[in-house]
């Protein structure tokens, strides 16, 4: 059997046949008959030039297929076929990124969810892979702020201005940063993935900017490059990536967020989105956030200003002098009843983000809490995941 491929399609129910995409396509991969405008899978090279010019949004459709739909098949459609179930391998059958290397990275990050990731039902439609290695976006650094006081934990809040370039993002998506220079074999470096920590309407509302939360890793090529960026520097970006680790567009949905370190980036974006979209009345957000100590917890200052009505916080420390070590899973157990109550609510969405090492402990805590209410965790988790309510992104 052939390896599944990603195919670019146009939604015939939404398309109005203006042929702007067809005129824009630099390689004439788009054509039409009297019924439909269609993309030739043999020609399309995913350059994305046609995406922003479409007045309807019908152009941004993708399917993973074993055999691409032919032009003749597409001409006959009155609606887009559903995505076929091609199995559980996210790297091969997911649509988190068109770019294979990025898709593989994200699939690995999502592996802890125990199965193929699904976006929340009410999530907004993400744009994916608008910018590529060959055609990156160029962002200008607007600010680089240190978030931590711990000298061994240099975590930065980086603000990037996209200027006039369309760069639509949703909370929970990531971008790739291409570090300058070449590797040993003389090839340009591949992009590294970073979660966006700002909401969809910009770090500053209605400015075309995004923020990232980046920790300096010893010897890390890209993290040192990013952490040393200065205001005015230019950065090459790919993406956005990610199509499932997204928040529900539903003011009544409840969010249970568990994170450590820079895993707080998407949680910050979620919280800001809620705050801007529904304001104080939202509620329903509970966060367990772990770090070594307050000095190394990113956004410690700003978090203290977030009202409890919006976000109930548990900041948990594992290295505070004179106190016993406490990890996020310990606090989850201590808050067993609150967590259990959320697990029983079909409106609850769980997000776990941080280092791979946190997965086991959190999984263990969730297993215990689920059992305490008579729910086998593996089964509950699979249901939640398949409903787009359980999300893991760990590195």
């Amino acid at each position: 059997m052939n390896k599944p491929v990603k195919q670019h399609l146009i939604d015939p129910e939404i398309c109005i046949r203006c042929y702007t995409c067809e005129m824009t396509c630099p390689i004439e991969a788009i054509t039409h008959d009297d019924m439909n405008v269609v993309v030739d899978a043999e020609k399309c090279n995913f350059c994305m030039d046609c995406i922003p010019v479409c007045p309807t949004g019908s152009i941004d459709e993708w399917r993973v297929v074993n055999t691409p739909y032919s032009l003749e098949e597409q001409f006959e459609w009155t609606e887009l076929p559903e995505q076929e179930d091609l199995g559980q391998s996210e790297a091969e059958t997911g649509l988190e990124a068109i770019d294979e290397a990025m898709a593989a990275l994200l699939a690995e990050a999502h592996a802890g969810a125990g199965g193929k990731a699904v976006a929340p039902r009410s999530a907004a439609k993400p744009s994916v892979n608008l910018y590529t290695l060959g055609k990156p976006a160029v962002a200008k650094v607007q600010g680089n702020y240190r978030l931590t006081d711990d000298p061994d934990h240099d975590v930065r809040h980086i603000i990037l201005d996209l200027g006039g370039q369309p760069f639509p993002v949703l909370e929970g998506q990531s971008v790739g940063i291409i570090p300058p220079g070449e590797d040993e074999s003389g090839k340009p470096h591949l992009p590294r993935l970073y979660s966006i920590s700002s909401p969809r309407d910009g770090e500053r509302p209605n400015y075309n900017n995004i923020s990232l939360t980046v920790k300096r890793e010893q010897g890390g090529l890209c993290s040192n490059y990013v952490c040393d960026l200065e205001k005015g520097d230019e950065v090459q970006l790919t993406g956005p990536f990610g199509a499932t680790f997204l928040m529900p567009d539903d003011a009544d949905a409840r969010l249970l967020m568990v994170c450590t370190g820079t895993g707080s980036a998407p949680m910050r974006a979620f919280t800001m989105r809620r705050q801007r979209a529904v304001g104080g009345k939202s509620g329903g957000m509970l966060m367990f956030f772990g770090a070594r100590n307050p000095e190394s917890l990113p956004y410690f200052g700003p978090l203290k200003k977030v009202p409890e009505a919006l976000l109930k916080q548990h900041l948990v420390y594992s290295r505070v002098d004179g106190q016993p070590k406490e990890y996020v899973q310990d606090r989850m157990m201590a808050e067993e009843e609150a967590v259990a109550e959320m697990l029983t609510d079909p409106n609850t969405h769980i997000y776990i983000c941080g280092l791979k090492g946190m997965e086991e402990g959190v999984e263990h805590a969730l297993t215990n809490i689920a059992e305490s209410i008579g729910q086998p965790w593996a089964a509950l988790r699979d249901v939640m995941r398949s409903e787009g309510r359980y999300h893991v992104e760990t590195y």
Partner: protein
């Protein structure tokens, strides 16, 4: 170096034509600018001028930069002069000069013909804004209001595009023509707009959707043929305008589609199978399908008149001169000169409607109209799919081209929508079923109540399937400044 892709803001007028180093044209445009702003400010009710509208502004003409969305107050919209990138070694695509290098300056022998085409095109742009000036007062949602304003500001930009060409290439009389574009007014007694269809008021939202679907589509076809012009600056201007025009088609097609959708839903909810139970359907606050057919008949036939006479020497001359091409000229495989070819046109012979062959050169208008009809039929097919899906037995149809015409061989003939000659009495009896009556207009008017709450829609129209710029359903497309 002159940056011809990205928009430069170093003058008051955003542009990608190097205005800052073209002092003469810049001065002329800056002189014209206050009159334009004045025209805009007087046109649209004040509280909408002060509202923040989520609009698309082109920041460059390459694919990734022409659709930047943001909140803007309309009078502060960055109208500008934007031309599609110059194609290297472009050739005149048709007529007796076919194959020669495209003109970068106005060819002297065709100066007047070119100017007239540009003025006619330019005159329609502000006219439609004038026709639609009061619609926001009855917008069925903030989403629709935003779409209306997007159409309006882009028609305004299209006026700019034509005015630039007049100032840049036609000297003093070009400047006078540019001033006249602001002097004429849609529906005015003393100085009406040049084309009849642009002097009718757009009284309600269904008319607006029909107008953007049928009449703006004529505009699209005209732009398509001017985009094939051998006069390169006109071609580049029109090519960029077409990308914007696509949004107007979208507003029309989805607007009518959503109206139909809602009618079908409400009929189903109330167990109405027969689309002709008009009183019951209207009592439920939605627009009956037969009335939508009547509106379609009206707007389609009015728009056909915009194509002019079926057989036209003016059109032949423009084609032959290489000033105006055919729809998608570059994809046609003939000799692009049409010297020996013929084309089928409608005619009336011995009281019968017939088609016969005439020299293709003289049938340029007819050919563009045929392309238009084919293009327009596409959306009607989609609308029928909506009806079909809901299980209601009704089919919308484009009427025969001979019906209800004021220009061309069928002008003022008594012909029914099927294309049959009828007597005066038969026509009078049929007309209430073919064209919207005053009572029909009053009924539609009675539904036109504004809905200004984000995410809410007036009862007679369904919400869109997809938001603008992928925005969620309750997005506040217009932040209203309430006076």
């Amino acid at each position: 170096m002159l940056d011809l892709i990205n928009v430069s803001y170093d003058t008051q007028i955003p542009n990608n034509v190097g205005l800052s180093s073209d002092k003469k044209v810049l001065k002329a445009l800056e002189k014209w600018h206050p009159g334009y702003i004045d025209w805009w400010n007087k046109l649209i009710p004040q509280n909408f001028q002060e509202s923040l509208v989520y609009l698309r502004t082109a920041v460059s003409v390459d694919p990734k930069g022409w659709a930047k969305f943001d909140y803007v107050k309309m009078p502060e919209y960055r109208w500008g002069v934007l031309l599609a990138p110059q194609v290297e070694d472009r050739r005149i695509p048709c007529g007796e000069h076919a194959g020669e290098p495209a003109w970068q300056e106005v060819p002297g022998e065709y100066r007047n013909m070119l100017k007239r085409l540009i003025v006619i095109q330019g005159d329609t742009e502000p006219a439609s804004v004038e026709q639609q000036r009061l619609l926001a007062l009855t917008a069925p949602s903030l989403y629709d209001m935003r779409n209306l304003f997007q159409v309006n500001v882009e028609e305004g930009r299209h006026l700019w595009a034509m005015v630039y060409l007049l100032h840049k290439y036609f000297g003093r009389d070009g400047r006078e023509e540019a001033d006249d574009l602001l002097r004429r007014q849609s529906g005015s007694e003393e100085a009406p707009r040049m084309l009849g269809a642009f002097n009718e008021e757009t009284p309600d939202w269904l008319s607006f959707f029909m107008f953007t679907y049928f009449t703006d589509r004529d505009g699209k076809m005209q732009l398509e043929s001017l985009a094939q012009s051998g006069f390169d600056p006109l071609s580049r201007t029109c090519r960029f305008m077409l990308t914007e025009e696509a949004h107007h088609m979208f507003v029309g097609e989805t607007g009518v589609g959503r109206t139909i959708q809602r009618t079908c839903e409400v009929m189903k909810e109330n167990g109405i199978e027969d689309p002709y139970e008009i009183d019951r359907i209207r009592a439920l606050g939605v627009i009956d399908l037969p009335l939508i057919q009547k509106k379609l008949n009206l707007h389609y036939t009015l728009s056909l008149d915009l194509f002019g006479q079926e057989v036209s020497t003016n059109a032949a001359n423009a084609f032959n001169a290489g000033i105006k091409g055919r729809y998608q000229e570059h994809r046609l495989t003939d000799d692009h000169k049409l010297t020996g070819d013929t084309y089928k046109v409608w005619d009336i012979v011995d009281g019968k409607i017939v088609q016969h062959e005439v020299p293709a050169l003289t049938a340029i208008n007819m050919r563009l109209r045929d392309d238009y009809t084919r293009d327009a039929a596409g959306g009607v097919g989609r609308w029928n799919k909506i009806i079909e899906k809901s299980g209601i037995d009704f089919e919308l149809k484009l009427p025969h081209e001979a019906f209800n015409r004021k220009i061309g061989v069928f002008a003022d003939k008594l012909i029914d929508p099927e294309g049959n000659f009828v007597s005066g009495a038969e026509y009078d009896a049929g007309e209430p079923n073919w064209l919207p009556s005053h009572a029909d207009g009053d009924f539609i008017q009675s539904l036109m109540k504004p809905e200004y709450e984000p995410g809410k829609y007036a009862r007679w129209i369904a919400p869109p399937k997809v938001g603008i710029d992928n925005k969620p359903g309750d997005f506040e497309y217009v932040k209203l400044a309430m006076a």
